[in-house]
Point group: C2
Chain length 485, copies 2
Amino acid sequence: MSSTSARRLNIDNINPHVREAKYAVRGELAVKSEEYRAKLAKGDTDLPFTQVISANIGNPQQLDQKPITFFRQVLSLLENPLLLQHEEVLLNQLGYKTDVIERAKWLLSKAGSVGAYSASNGVPAIRQSIADFLERRDGFPANEADIYLSGGASSGVNTLLHIICEGPKTGILVPIPQYPLYTASLSVLNATCVPYYLDESQNWGTDLEAIKKGCADAKAQGVDVRAIVIINPGNPTGASLSEADIRSVIDFAREEKLVVMADEVYQTNVFIGKFVSFKKVLRTLQKENPGKYDSVELASLQSVSKGMVGECGHRGGYFELCGFDPKVQAEIYKFVSITLCAPVIGQCLVELMVNPPKPGDPSYELYDKEYNGIFNGLKERAYALWRAFEKMEGVECGEPQGSMYLFPTVKIPAKAIEAAAAEGRSADEFYCLRLLEATGVCLVPGSGFGQKEGTLHFRTTFLAPGTEWVGSIVKFHEDFMNKYR
Amino acid sequence: MSSTSARRLNIDNINPHVREAKYAVRGELAVKSEEYRAKLAKGDTDLPFTQVISANIGNPQQLDQKPITFFRQVLSLLENPLLLQHEEVLLNQLGYKTDVIERAKWLLSKAGSVGAYSASNGVPAIRQSIADFLERRDGFPANEADIYLSGGASSGVNTLLHIICEGPKTGILVPIPQYPLYTASLSVLNATCVPYYLDESQNWGTDLEAIKKGCADAKAQGVDVRAIVIINPGNPTGASLSEADIRSVIDFAREEKLVVMADEVYQTNVFIGKFVSFKKVLRTLQKENPGKYDSVELASLQSVSKGMVGECGHRGGYFELCGFDPKVQAEIYKFVSITLCAPVIGQCLVELMVNPPKPGDPSYELYDKEYNGIFNGLKERAYALWRAFEKMEGVECGEPQGSMYLFPTVKIPAKAIEAAAAEGRSADEFYCLRLLEATGVCLVPGSGFGQKEGTLHFRTTFLAPGTEWVGSIVKFHEDFMNKYR
């Protein structure tokens, strides 16, 4: 008996639901790109490119984006409160402003040490600050007891799906294309993903008929459909829902008794259209129609990883619940307790995100300049990339709408599809793999997000600085098309 | 139809496995203690105590423990790298040493920004630093590719159990008493907890016969027992396993083909006995008996939350795998990818923990003083508490051995047991609730960790400063015994 076969765990006997989960954003291509990066770092000159561009993941600070100064100054004081014994040095020699010092003192007074566990649902004062923000944003009250700090939005999604999914027959409506966190988490939980297709011909709009059809088909198969995920603005599409769209989704959720999970992590990354929160529309509907919408359950998620904050590595986020049964909320509290609490420094960063310097505050001018600089930079890069795609044969891409991504359609020659099949790969995977090998640019094949049968896409972030990498995609595409034409 | 009944989610239809999970460390008593704390903060003077002592959870910095200066100085520079443009100010006016600056620069060069996602398994250079530490600690090589950074050890346990548990028939041997993370996670995963009892008469020693019996009983019932959890030093018991004990556990694991999960988060919190790692013993056995132990799979966990570091709020930790199938490791990598990565600032803190200042380094003297101060303080408090327990009628407690806890047996009068039953509570819960109401001291009833039928315990940390709270426990106990005698 070899030592391998003597092992207790092997690929065939581990948790089958983990084995079945797919997460292409950090899959084979991403792993291969990291190998290339390591090779280049060691001085390897055999590769046909000199840098790896990780356009597979919305990770702004891995690329060019600088953190916002106000945020990081406060965090530095939270990490080393002894610095607060030297206020004159901070103010006169290190460029800290009085509002930085005040905020740090306030957060320390509320969180104690950032090295201490907080309450399982987060530091109470931070939950209150989030509630205040939500009230300012939506014009409706928010309750700190309904807010849960999480380790990024991913951990919030994990919590919510853990509670909602009763068993294999539980169905969750998920948009396609979607961020694969949803399908992967549902796989791990052994619940049923009920897809509904976004309408590419309407610039990836949310089509109520498609939702109804997805829901009805699943119910006909005995699936207990109990929640709908909406990613607004969309990932990977960038599309924002109009207020009318949101009303019809909420109406449908009310009729079908579906919990609404609104993933709103790109709420400030909007170029076309306007972000309107599900919470605001729900409260408006409740006000307009007393009693009618009281039973609607809504969970909205937000994160420090996206927007102009871009602080992915800090794993900060929160979700707000509306209309949930208090006994169910108690179970959510217990569930998050098992892993104790979200990172406290990340919680503090959430507080800074929702309560940034205001006009007149000493740090406002710099904050505003940095914030707008990031916003405009993202928009410029998005358009530069889009214009490049416009020129590429067989590539179609809607105008950039928001989020951090473009998700073009690619039509590739039959010969390329055959060559992919010969390698046992999907055609979009084959295309992205060849692109990575030739240029060092890492994209994610559309199959990683889901796409209509017979269509091919890829997702790219527009975070990477410079235009050279865009040029290298254009050049690769031309060669690829010529090779397989 | 009331709006409540119209809700989609209620306590009866959510995930039953979440509903069944128990996590007493942050359960009813902890929630009640937070309510008391909030009351006191508002100036309430109706309560019979003036402060809440959270002795229910190992959360050093919530109480008296100050963070270690070297760690926090480095973290402040990672949060605000702009400070590195002012080295003279840092060195001459703010008390930073050159090794602080060097370490911060090195970590930034390896992690990029702490606001960027790292690789899913952690920053490569940090994994290498952990491997170097393990090699120094154990005298055997360690491979960075086998190390996974996690959000505290809890998240590592969650990952490992997710992979190991194939279905409801999968059994995991768990010590009783145990830290309830294990039973709660197994509930959520709908897998089977296979208890084995620690031997209180041998100061909570690990009894191989009890393990054999637990395993055999479960197998007789058709359970697929495939892993054993060892908490060493123990939580809540503090007991350290001898090298001989570890050898027999590994031998048994080899014979029965059990994956060994060694929870070693208290490895530096040892007063009696000596910490020996499972990894060291496994590698020693492999060296002594070529081939015989090659199939043993070991996962060892460590955290920044415990030890003299005590940085719970930073959610840093790691696990190391030995002997795992590469294909299984690839699934672990995929699983951790779904929630992207552990908090990067927490990863950096792990690096500082495993690679602290060495003798001769500029920061060494202060580091050493702080480290020993914390160690001695914990030991003194443990003994003070133990001496108080020694004097309490019906309370028996072994000499403090390590970890952050004492776990005494309490014998309470039959009348108190009846009064508890009348309230529908277990007797230990009743005792701890009355104690909380009378003194503001929050303990965890022994039933939260598991205890032999007919015995009653509670767990208390020995982290809280001062002796007043200890006196209040002694006084309460006397009154309680007199009331129910």
